[in-house]
């Protein structure tokens, strides 16, 4: 009984690690620009497809394919910022417009993938011998699950190092407090935007590749995951990076618990119920800053 529980927790952490990549991306964009980048859904699928194509068509090894996918997704992310958000950001448009613009980027990316690659589900082309499990007594853990969790935490650690131990990271943190004052102090807004959208592009590509390995690669793959990553980032407190990681791990564990003990069909319903209940009792999320709408 305890062993089953432990197994579920471990599976939950491995899913939660993938969510946390996306949730941190949401938190990062939100902390500086105060809007939710709805386009991660598309970026994630794009990253997975690029990894898929790099291995399938260009015969790259896995690590090279990952870097290939990261770079292309980061380029797409920065491009979307330049074309869709920067003009709005510059004229200080209402957040509603930013969200609609992001929604537009998402619709365009997902449906372009859908047209070019068709909607069928594909297996991510990794060598068969990689798909093994390690057994610890009665607990068994999939090798790719471990790899996903490790790479996710390495990415998060790198991001943390970057934000808290470098000058550029300081610029991002300062901008998250007040972007206009930061600009007055000589922090280039464009550079901050570049960094943020580069980082979130890379994170969503990693999430896409590992989600593709765990389940399948298809254009609409991002839909359900990104909703849950958003929920996780709200649960942790919008705009809070440690909150996003905490929320993701909680949500991942809750999900595997629900699918293990209740019903896998209603897994996502529980995720949503968690959001509603949490909003009732912790309106700012678990680790969110205590503040209302920014003026």
């Amino acid at each position: 009984m305890m062993l089953v529980l432990l197994q579920q927790v471990i599976n939950g952490v491995s899913i939660g690690a993938i969510y946390s990549l996306l949730a941190v991306g949401y938190a990062l964009v939100y902390s500086v620009y105060n809007f939710t980048n709805w386009a991660f859904d598309g970026f994630m699928a794009f990253g997975a497809f690029m990894g898929f194509a790099a291995i399938g068509s260009l015969a790259m090894p896995f690590w090279l394919a990952m870097i290939f996918s990261m770079i292309l997704t980061a380029i797409l992310s920065i491009l979307s910022e330049k074309l869709a958000y920067a003009p709005l950001r510059v004229r200080q448009a209402p957040r509603l417009f930013m969200m609609i613009s992001a929604m537009g980027v998402n619709l365009a990316v997902v449906n372009t993938l859908n047209k070019t690659f068709s909607g069928v589900m594909r297996r991510f082309p990794i060598p068969d011998e990689w798909i093994t499990t390690y057994d610890f007594g009665e607990i068994s853990i999939g090798r790719m699950d471990i790899l996903a969790a490790i790479i996710a935490f390495v990415c998060l650690a790198l991001l943390w190092w970057f934000l808290f131990r470098t000058r550029w990271g300081l610029g991002v943190r300062v901008s998250s407090i007040d972007i206009d004052t930061a600009a007055l102090m000589g922090v280039s807004n464009n550079k901050v935007a570049f960094i943020i959208f580069f980082a979130t592009g890379v994170l969503s590509s990693v999430a896409g590749v590992f989600f593709g390995i765990k389940y399948a690669v298809y254009p609409l793959m991002g839909g359900a995951v990104t909703i849950k990553a958003m929920i996780a980032s709200i649960v942790g407190g919008l705009g809070s990076l440690p909150g996003a990681v905490l929320g993701s791990l909680l949500l991942g564990v809750l999900e595997t618990m629900v699918s293990g003990y209740v019903s896998s069909a209603y897994r996502d319903v529980f995720a949503f119920a968690l959001l509603i209940i949490l909003l009732l009792f912790f309106p700012n999320g678990l680790m969110g800053r205590e503040k209302g709408e920014k003026l």
Partner: protein, 341 residues
């Protein structure tokens, strides 16, 4: 615009509308009625739901991408009422709409209470829609009622002119019913928007803090806007149930919510006539051109961005409903005058 000038434009606009209607009539004769009846019904249904999104997103500034969920709730409720409880068509649709409006409180209250509007609320609507769809996908049976899960809720009574005996039998009956609904909703929405209640919604949409200082209760205003828009979506869902004669959870995917949002964003964020026109176009064009339908969502997406960057107020901007808009289409190049539109 001077009143006399406006009157002239209105007359010209009405004539234009009549000419368009006559042209459509001729097209119907040429291309066959059945095809147009289907398009008109779909336009009417989409229009009702789109106006709901217009009230919520356009006027009150609350971004929603989950109105398909309210359509599903309204549709299934109306279908249940009509099929299992033999409630007459009209009351079944109304009941579905009101029920959808009431369920909106489930997401409205916690989301509005937390004071952060945009993102929380949008995700809550999205999550709500997905949760509803998942539940409907998995519930096959409630007691003696067969909902059918993913296969769909089958054998519903259909809209075939037998609802009211005086309606024409056959093809045009449902069109008249749906269009009557759409017209009533259209004028109700217009009346709402120019009323005191509508003005508080606009105030909240423009600046919450300023509105609150003027004595607007944010919670009730937002709840009201959400209730109205969910009610409309529910009515649209009910009409859909009786038009198709069956319902499946697949009708209520995220793409449907995107379509509704597209109608409002393209038509004008603070306009009733704008979303009306664009939602008609957005339904009719993909129905007419199947090749366009496949690329529709890519085009919508790019258009969302282009609109927000270059013309965030939408094609119709802040125009009020009146026919002088159509009249102005014929405007000759007049020498520019200072002041006034």
């Amino acid at each position: 615009m001077k009143p006399a000038n406006k009157l002239r434009k209105t007359v010209i606009g009405l004539v234009t509308a009549a000419a368009v209607a006559a042209g459509l009539g001729i097209l119907v004769k040429i291309m066959g009625a059945g095809y147009f009846q289907n398009i008109l019904i779909l336009v009417g249904i989409t229009l009702i739901a789109t106006l709901g999104v217009a009230v919520l997103t356009g006027y009150t500034g609350l971004f929603t991408i989950g109105h398909a969920g309210f359509m599903a709730v309204g549709g299934y409720m109306a279908a249940l009422l009509a099929k299992e409880a033999q409630v007459p068509f009209f009351y079944a649709v109304l009941g579905g709409g009101v029920f959808a409006g009431l369920t909106s409180f489930i997401i409205g209250y916690p989301a509005f209470r937390s004071r952060l509007r945009g993102d929380y609320f949008a995700i809550a609507t999205l999550g709500f829609a997905e949760a509803i769809r998942l539940i409907l996908n998995n519930v096959r049976q409630i007691g003696s009622i067969t909902l059918g899960g993913a296969y769909g809720y089958m054998d519903l009574p259909t809209l075939d002119g037998s609802i009211w005996s005086w309606l024409p039998k056959g093809g045009w009956g449902p069109v008249i019913v749906v269009m009557a609904f759409a017209l009533v909703i259209f004028f109700l929405t217009h009346a709402f928007v120019v009323s005191q209640w509508g003005k508080t919604c606009i105030a909240v949409g423009q600046d919450e803090v300023a509105a609150q200082m003027m004595g607007v209760n944010l919670m009730t205003t937002k709840m009201m806007a959400l209730f109205i828009s969910a009610l409309y979506a529910g009515l649209a869902g009910g009409l859909m149930a009786f038009y198709y004669g069956y319902l499946t959870p697949g009708f209520f995917m995220i793409t449907r919510s995107s379509d509704l949002l597209a109608g409002v964003v393209f038509g004008g964020m603070q306009s009733v006539i704008g979303p009306t026109i664009t939602s008609a176009v957005l339904v009719a064009v993909p129905e007419g051109l199947r090749t366009f339908a496949e690329y529709r969502l890519i085009v919508y997406g790019l258009f969302f961005v282009v609109m927000m960057v270059f013309r965030p107020q939408g094609l119709m901007g802040y125009y009020r409903m009146d026919f002088s808009i159509l009249g102005r289409l014929w405007r000759r190049r007049e020498p520019a005058k200072a002041g006034g539109r």
